[in-house]
Symmetry: D2
Subunit: 330 residues, 4 copies
């Protein structure tokens, strides 16, 4: 058994990480950090935690949680808070925020809107997509939710498509905005509504561009849904490229990525509450475009699922251990 | 006062057309046709119709309704049914279906999946977007919901953008699929879900292409929402073109189309239950794309609103008479 | 024309009141108060306000707005803030909060959780349900949203039913909780969810009890919906009482209350975005209960609609002037 | 390992039963019956079935499936179809429909609206609530979804409460209406809407009455949600009865029923996609009522979960084997 600590355990990504740890056969909890809930039992966050078959410690402050010397520490805080984080001397760290996804400090100024406080340490972190670029160090930057959906859809195709003119139109459930109440996540602004946001200026664009090797035009939208992302990616294949075959080859041994049979449309209901990915490939009848569509749960494959998968790889465990690869059928 | 008859009055577009007629100061109802409701009072469709201040006749069969010799007949049926329709000898006809949107019979075979039964009469109909290509004959093909959103966003820009590589990613509420119960419109398949459909093969592509003068790559998606369309349009401006200025000029005198101020994002909640259109223009930070976003109500501007507007123009009335141009604020 | 000022114009009930004033033929805006938006144009709250055909002033502070000496002042603030409000020397005041709904200071301590700062002035206010107990002074306490739904359903029956054992199970959309972001109104807690809250302890119980003359057992629930209340009321009729006939008689001349024909079920979709009320009466097959069901929009008849109606009555105008009595049909 | 066959496997309750069988360590699939899908692979219903680690046979007709001589047959059809079902000569049968929940043929005429075709065999079936009245024969009538929520909340209290005047106000997601498209389950009628239905005449009332020993007043409502039921039960305790203590005692050894700590409110988000039950007990501040609230997933504890649990008991297996007792946390 390996020990795991969560910093920021009461936010969405923290709670989802906790969920995967509780069902993981080789992880046990060292500490649950939350400055909001410190001193309270875990069940104060969710009453179901009182019935867990695996021991769940009470919340402590994030500072206290960091003293737990766990084998793996999951950092589940906001971008700017996480950027100031001083990693423990030992053990694996998986940062679920955007604070260590780029080595270039200018990215944080332009796209995140803050000056990185530990810019000279950025190179110590590696950006890891489990199926494509698995972690090879102990400090792991977990991909953004939109980013991993797009990268899983397009990275295996990068040499087979025209690299200019790629458009990614993405739609996400509201949990991507985090648990802290804001005007934009007020139910009155979300229910029975749909809208784009940060049009052409979302901070996941540079990490996608870095992973693919070229810029894309990226527009996110907010769905009146709790969980899930659909990324609809528009590309032009180079001569004769069979994009479906390339994706099938890339994910032949990837249990968490399913290239759907021809004609089957990805949809959120099949990936919500899971760590699975659905990919579909479609030809346009009117132009030379091919459309590659990815569906994930933004809190699953888009956050906690990949974080656990990255931690598993770093620990030398079977990568999909503890993941939820299939939801309830109906 | 002009008389109006609705054929297929109990479907969504029929009922919405009825709604606009009831609040229209210059239209009165000649007949309400519905083969399903024939013989029943209007209130059997919606109990609020029992309280209408304007007289609402009982439903008759569609065949009987056609004998009403109304000044305007609104044809609110399915594509294939409407294609077989024999227009009355006199009076304006506005067809809200797709049955007369193209003069080319091959379009119906390829994109609609049926052979047009009155192909030689297609040329008698004119496709009319009220603000851009108003009707000039008595047989009027009303635009499709996705089509009018896209055309309003892009037609004024057609000469100012690269005509290849245009991508339109659209999202619609479920009422676009009509009122007849189907697997795809079952609430269990729609609620808390989101998915693409007819990827690259939706029948609105050719009418958009015809209006713009070039093909686009068009992908629709189904929102877990009753009403509303967002069309996110990705274009590359030609040298120096100011797309926002072009749209503002095109719609300076169009009360039903609002080019939003810079930075204001279109959203469904402000156009639902109205006949209004919101347009937003945004530059991409990473590529040379400009994103033009249209928001409409698919049953309003996307169907009944434009149908009334086209009828008004054909009757010589102020075009926006009887429309709902603003919903409830909050 | 009468002048109207809104205090707290940027909250939900304030914005809805603004909406009714803009469409009211005999009201014009004196001032829009909002401490949050003071100094900004009205369109900063909602871009549609830039296109209003009636003049809309810029926001000023609530204190400044109060100096406008309007014929009617609508008080649209939180309970505790409104309780400290010093009414202007002249003019009608309609308080949409709960701060003046009871004359008994103890009610505020027990059910609202605060000590009323102006307890000795409570008797100057009159609690007004437009159709049943219209206002007869210039200081008007507008009913609570759950309260008015329940009172409209039950008050005309008070002498015809057993007064013990009445149960009211109510369900509301999230806008009833106001626009300030809170954990409970975060879309992640509301979407695809449903739950009771303040079970047996909601602050609308005492105003309902006061209006009916007896206590009820009242439980509210939160719907994953923006707007609307269904109050399902369970009563036992006294010998031979015809509850439907009593309601029909009570509302024969009330355009904003519709007693539905037998067998027609009230539903939210027909009253949302309106100031209308639907009432249905049903007999239980298994017990001696009769079920009376009311449907309203919590921001319409449950707030701004009744506020305008009360103001109209106090001004001597036709009561339903400026109201939205019917939504879009489909 | 025991073999299991599903009759009507492509409906909601059939698919959910399949889901539990696939994760059940002691059940394997004998046959999947569906007259709609016969001849097609299981993945034609849901593409995830192509990736199942447990073998999933192709669909056969229901008649063919019945020849599989399975240890357990799950009957997942409509009430009237299931009523005509001739049980196999051997093996356990669990009927998830309402066709065998009462021994009294008159119930079917009055509440279900059909004459039972095999009325003289009704006595061979036993109605089984796993935690309270476990099955003791091979022909098992599984409880209705509303019924089991209400019975779990009230049956342990039956002697401690006044038996007249009990009110149960229930709210369900749309999957309770089955997968066959109907007007009432059309997303356009469900989304952003809420309404009561079958007020005082729902067919689950008699089975609740039979289980409790007295009639209740029962009103169901339709939530704009896919899955989940909240039953809000209003009772008057007899002198000094401690209803919470009675429920805690009844379910002390029931892993699928959780009596929540004082002050914790049941909610759907925690039980959706699970076979768990949450019960809460609350005192009314204004009257002598106590409110007992049950939350379940209508397709989980309300259908497939209880069916598997009943089958486990009949097979002599640990009752909650194969169930989903906890969902994803966030």
């Amino acid at each position: 058994m390996y020990s795991a600590t969560i910093i920021g355990a009461s936010g969405y990504s923290g709670q989802e990480t906790l969920d995967r740890i509780l069902r993981h056969p080789e992880l046990e909890l060292a500490a649950l950090g939350s400055d909001t809930y410190a001193g309270q039992p875990a069940s104060s966050l969710d009453p179901r935690l009182a019935r867990s078959s695996k021991p769940v410690p009470a919340f402590v402050t994030n500072a206290d949680a960091l003293t737990s010397a766990a084998d793996v520490t999951f950092l589940c805080q906001g971008h700017e808070t996480a950027a100031a984080f001083e990693p423990p001397a030992n053990g694996i760290v998986v940062d679920l925020s955007g604070a260590h996804r780029s080595n270039d400090p200018a990215i944080y100024e332009q796209w995140y809107g803050f000056s990185h406080p530990r810019a000279d340490e950025l190179a110590a972190w590696t950006y890891a997509v489990p199926e494509l670029t698995p972690p090879d160090g102990r400090l792991i930057a977990n991909p953004g939710c939109y980013a991993i959906a797009t990268i899983l859809a397009l990275a295996p195709l990068a040499r087979a498509i025209e690299t200019s003119g790629v458009v990614v139109d993405a739609k996400s459930g509201v949990s991507g905005a985090g648990r802290v109440p804001k005007d934009a996540s007020h139910a009155g602004a979300v229910l029975d509504n749909f809208k784009p946001y940060r049009v052409g200026s979302h901070q996941h664009e540079p990490e996608i561009a870095s992973a693919l090797g070229f810029d894309i035009c990226f527009v996110p939208h907010l769905l009146p849904i709790r969980r899930g992302i659909i990324a609809t990616c528009y590309v032009v294949p180079r001569d004769g490229a069979d994009l479906r075959a390339l994706l099938q080859a890339a994910y032949a041994d990837a249990p968490a990525v399913d290239v759907l049979p021809e004609g089957v449309l990805p949809e959120l209901s099949r990936v919500q509450q899971t760590d699975a990915t659905e990919l579909g490939v479609f030809e346009d009848q009117a132009t030379d475009r091919v459309i590659v569509i990815a569906a994930i749960d933004n809190l699953g494959k888009g956050a906690a699922g990949s974080a656990i998968q990255n931690a598993n790889i770093a620990l030398g465990i079977e990568p999909t251990t503890g993941l939820r690869l299939s939801g309830v059928l109906a």
